[in-house]
Symmetry: none
């Protein structure tokens, strides 16, 4: 990464700082929102905020690691010799990616048995996907990168299948006022997650040096903001609408009884 | 910025510290206030506090960056060679400016469909405005600065139009006891936001060196305090008054039934 320009260094630096602010703000937003939803959705809101809180922690570490790896003095960039730690991202994903799928399952409010079985299956697949990606991320040889990329795509494809086939019956059972939003959450998951394997291949399709490093860092950062913070807002809206309509039903029932 | 005097350095330094205190205090005020308003306004109060919390984070970074860029030794000011990072402001605005408009829309309590459509449209316009301003801010050539200034003024003019024409029907539908305050919030938005394009042109109308840098930093800081903290107090007053009158209505309905 010695060919990094000052402009590239600063773009990544500011993207990391932006993400620290975003993840911190999102975490507080979700935890405040927790008091506005029905009891059935409180765990979903707790986890939604945990995902962005874990990301906040890792982005503080990533920011500091980036800042320690380079110094800009009098308009010149210099590698300090301290290595930038890429592993923070994978440690983050190992925790947050299974939790993101669990958020979606919890807010759908399936039966206990289904919540458990789908949570375990999708959570495990997500963790396996992240673990398989890492040996490729740290490899420099394109062949090795492609091998692990392809292996990680297997659980990814399985997750997409589960979301679109396995959850379609449960989606049909959602109340009218949230069915569209649940569908949005499902699509947001698939589309924002598709970003990661694309960013992963940037160094294998001709990007090199500072350009590759910048594209990878900014790409993963944008994908994290969408898949965690924006996705969380959709989860909150689903939880809020379902809470309101369930409270209305209870209110009507009461009125009918009286 | 090497021509900065010690007095100018200290004025900016103290203005940043003032803003850290103000944003921190405002954040806590808004989040404490959240428990005093009706459920319908809780999200508005959460976001009002998030805007000042995000600004707090960025002013801590800006303060540290300013402090790292200069040193005052034996009454003499010296640039350290570390660049002052101007981008923090734009990163802040990219997040907070759309949220400020969403605060105003949420506290007006429009229909869900209108809240969503106006929130998306005004939020997107605000983000585009900030993005268009940045290339001008980092340019040194006046022609380039004017070009981006003019481009950013297009979404700004559109936002003003939406606030005064698009929201006038919704304003008329506000309860009597808050209509004046909502109008104040609308005017406060337009007037405090007008400050930013004025500060932006300081270096293009004859201000140079340390004087320009000081005027820009102090100008943006004053505008941020007014548009985020003072504006937030108005939002809180609207939310509080509406909560009280809506509770009165419910109380009256109950009394009428009994």
């Amino acid at each position: 990464m010695s060919e990094l320009t000052v402009g590239q260094f600063e773009l990544v630096y500011n993207a990391f700082s932006f993400t620290i602010a975003t993840m911190g703000a999102a975490t507080l937003f979700f935890w405040f929102g927790r008091s506005q939803v029905a009891d059935a959705y409180k765990t979903a809101m707790t986890i939604t905020g945990l995902v962005t809180a874990i990301a906040l922690y890792h982005y503080v570490r990533i920011f500091d690691s980036w800042d320690a790896a380079f110094s800009v003095v009098d308009g010149q960039i210099k590698a300090t010799g301290v290595a930038f730690n890429d592993a923070y991202r994978y440690v983050d994903w190992l925790l947050t990616v299974p939790l993101l799928l669990i958020e979606l399952i919890l807010v759908m409010r399936l039966s206990s048995a289904e919540t458990w079985s789908k949570g375990v299956r999708l959570g495990a697949l997500a963790a396996i996907m992240v673990v398989l990606g890492y040996p490729g991320e740290i490899a420099t040889d394109p062949g090795t990168r492609w091998l692990w990329w392809a292996l990680a795509m297997v659980p990814f494809a399985w997750i997409v299948y589960e979301l679109f086939v396995g959850l379609s019956k449960s989606l049909a059972a959602q109340p009218d006022n949230v069915r569209g939003l649940v569908n949005t959450a499902r699509w947001l998951t698939v589309l924002s997650w598709s970003f990661y394997p694309v960013v992963f291949v940037f160094p294998m399709i001709g990007l090199t040096g500072g350009t590759a490093a910048t594209a990878v860092q900014v790409g993963y950062t944008v994908a994290d903001v969408v898949s965690k913070a924006v996705f969380g807002v959709v989860i909150f809206m689903i939880a809020l609408r379902k809470s309101q309509s369930e409270m209305d039903v209870r209110g009507d029932a009461k009125a009918a009884t009286a």
